[in-house]
């Protein structure tokens, strides 16, 4: 008889469900919130590029909200989450009202993170895809440049500049290069051998093509509507070039096999 390998044993389990405590929260740009939570086991087990599921206290909102990890302090056991409030009466609106001492139910860490290499790297974030690139930039022990694409309002820029060379693009040209992240790379004459990226699908699609043209490796962090967050419900799939080992069809689970994929392996 198979014995359970349940959460609670840090040496065996890979995911934990727990009540985390809010350490601090502030709004760092319009509708962009910077939240730090104290966890028991999740932060200790977390890797750059993974995400957590945050549950609402409002019982009418059933599904967990997947949120990427902007910062991981394994010693202190804290996680930094930088997320966008998506509208009135949303789960993220509820989270944005939390203050120090409040409790929030969390499941994680989920998914596979970035595989850290030693090739000269671009850490590219677009919009709310910027936050997870910060922890990656911190952990990459190699030559690296952060490339950040904003609409107009900047956030987390100081954090990145403390870690590595950082170049930016804004849609309206109010700061950095006017245009997108590829425009910023070209304008600054920057180069690298590998791309790590998170952001809107059109950006990821453009970066996949850019990487192919320039013979670079490219890893993208994907997003999709999720339900379970652990690979059971098959809601959050993306199309794959080859047949997936688990699903036995040409799509793969973003929450389980992802969210980070080699761009060559997925259709964008």
């Amino acid at each position: 008889l198979r014995q359970p390998n349940l959460q609670g044993d840090i040496n065996m389990a890979t995911k934990f469900e727990e009540m985390a405590v809010v350490v601090s929260q502030k709004e760092i740009a319009t509708d962009i919130f910077d939240l730090t939570i104290q966890t028991k086991d999740i932060a200790k087990a977390a890797k750059a590029g993974q995400f957590i599921s945050l549950y609402c206290n409002d019982g009418t909102k059933l599904l967990p909200r997947p949120i990427s990890l902007c910062g991981i302090d394994r010693e202190a056991g804290t996680l930094r989450l930088v997320y966008r409030v998506t509208g009135e009466n949303t789960g993220t609106k509820e989270f944005s009202k939390m203050v120090a001492g409040d409790q929030v139910r969390v499941l994680g860490p989920l998914g596979n993170g970035f595989t850290l290499g030693d090739k000269k790297a671009f850490c590219i974030g677009g919009g709310i895809g910027i936050p997870p690139m910060l922890q990656l930039a911190k952990e990459l022990n190699c030559e690296k440049t952060a490339v950040l694409g904003y609409r107009n309002e900047l956030f987390l820029l100081d954090d990145f500049e403390n870690v590595c060379d950082t170049i930016i693009a804004t849609e309206d040209g109010s700061a950095g290069t006017k245009g997108n992240v590829i425009d910023a790379i070209k304008a600054n004459g920057a180069n690298a051998d590998v791309i790590y990226a998170c952001g809107p699908t059109p950006m990821l699609r453009a970066l996949k093509a850019y990487a192919e043209e320039n013979h670079m490796e490219c890893y993208v962090s994907m997003e999709e509507h999720m339900a379970c967050g652990i690979g059971a419900c098959l809601a959050c799939v993306c199309k794959t070039k080859e047949k997936d080992h688990h699903t036995n069809v040409n799509n793969t689970r973003i929450c389980k096999e992802g969210p980070v994929f080699n761009a060559k392996e997925v259709e964008l």
Partner: protein
């Protein structure tokens, strides 16, 4: 434990307790085994499996709605060959009953899977004739009593395990479908599958789901499910598995009082991966609180005030 009897007999199959999971919400148990001791569940009902791999629908496949969710996964599955090689052996290592949910686009698809499972160590079959998210098969079989009876009797002719027919709530009178399945020889009925719904994104002025419509599940549908289980219990003699919005032991007990011999936890698994165990423990507490010695005393025990 010994002071109360939670085991139930479902057409000859003895379950240690009445708590199982709703097909499609629990995979084949592997992902949830990190949170839940599967040995404590009455049964695991697998995600639907077809004769060949199915790609499923485009994304987005899920949307949250008030007190519930919509899904239009479209029965993505790896096909029966991979399922028999991988999923059944995984579940065999646990002391729980294995119920395989079978889906198909045509009668012959269903029969092929049922035949393939005949020699597998599977305890029961649940036939999905009620998925609202696939164009062919699925619900098309579940909304016409003649087709319900026909496919049930076709499956019963070759099935080696007891057959559960899973009913759709998207009908005028669910008892008509229940009687048709019973007439076709069904050993058991499970209800309800999801209710067809729709959600519109008012900012983009488009449908949230790529499939436009999806099946609604979650606590918001629970009263509908309780009503349908109650009506069906009055209409047929075969045992019922009640499901639809069960999130707590109290929800499960309501369903049992309405006439269900066993219950399935579905969407609530997404809300709290440990829901099933909490329901198992909560049913035991309820039995102790009210001095219920055997859970059978509760089945259909709702009465006139």
């Amino acid at each position: 434990m010994s002071d109360i009897k939670t085991s139930v007999n479902l057409c000859g199959v003895e379950l240690k307790n009445p708590v199982m999971v709703a097909s499609g919400t629990f995979g084949s148990g592997q992902e949830y085994s990190e949170f839940v001791d599967l040995n404590r569940l009455g049964a695991v009902v697998t995600k639907g499996v077809a004769n060949i791999p199915w790609q499923g629908n485009p994304t987005p496949r899920v949307a949250e709605v008030y007190g519930g969710m919509l899904n239009a996964v479209g029965l993505q599955n790896p096909g029966i060959d991979v399922f028999c090689k991988r999923d059944i052996p995984f579940l065999q290592d646990y002391d729980t009953k294995i119920i395989v949910n079978v889906c198909g686009k045509s009668t012959s698809d269903y029969l092929e899977v049922v035949e393939r499972l005949a020699d597998e160590p599977v305890d029961m079959l649940e036939i999905n004739i009620s998925c609202p998210n696939v164009k062919e098969g699925g619900i098309a079989f579940g909304q016409d009593p003649k087709l319900v009876e026909q496919i049930t009797s076709d499956i019963k002719k070759i099935a080696k395990q007891p057959v559960i027919m899973k009913l759709s709530p998207n009908v005028t009178d669910i008892t008509e479908m229940a009687r048709a399945a019973e007439a076709g020889g069904a050993d058991c009925l499970s209800l309800i599958n999801t209710l067809t719904g729709m959600k519109i994104d008012i900012d983009r002025r488009t449908f949230v789901l790529a499939n436009k419509t999806g099946g609604m599940s979650g606590p918001a549908i629970h009263p509908i499910a309780v009503r349908m289980v109650y009506q069906t219990a009055q209409a047929v003699k075969v045992p019922l598995i009640g499901m639809g919005g069960i999130a707590t032991a109290e929800d499960a007990i309501e369903m049992i009082l309405a006439g269900a011999t066993a219950v399935s936890v579905g969407t609530a698994n997404f809300v709290d991966p440990c829901t099933t165990i909490k329901v198992v423990e909560g049913i035991e507490s309820y039995m102790r609180k009210y001095g219920v010695k055997d859970i059978k005393e509760l089945v259909g025990a709702v009465h006139e005030r």
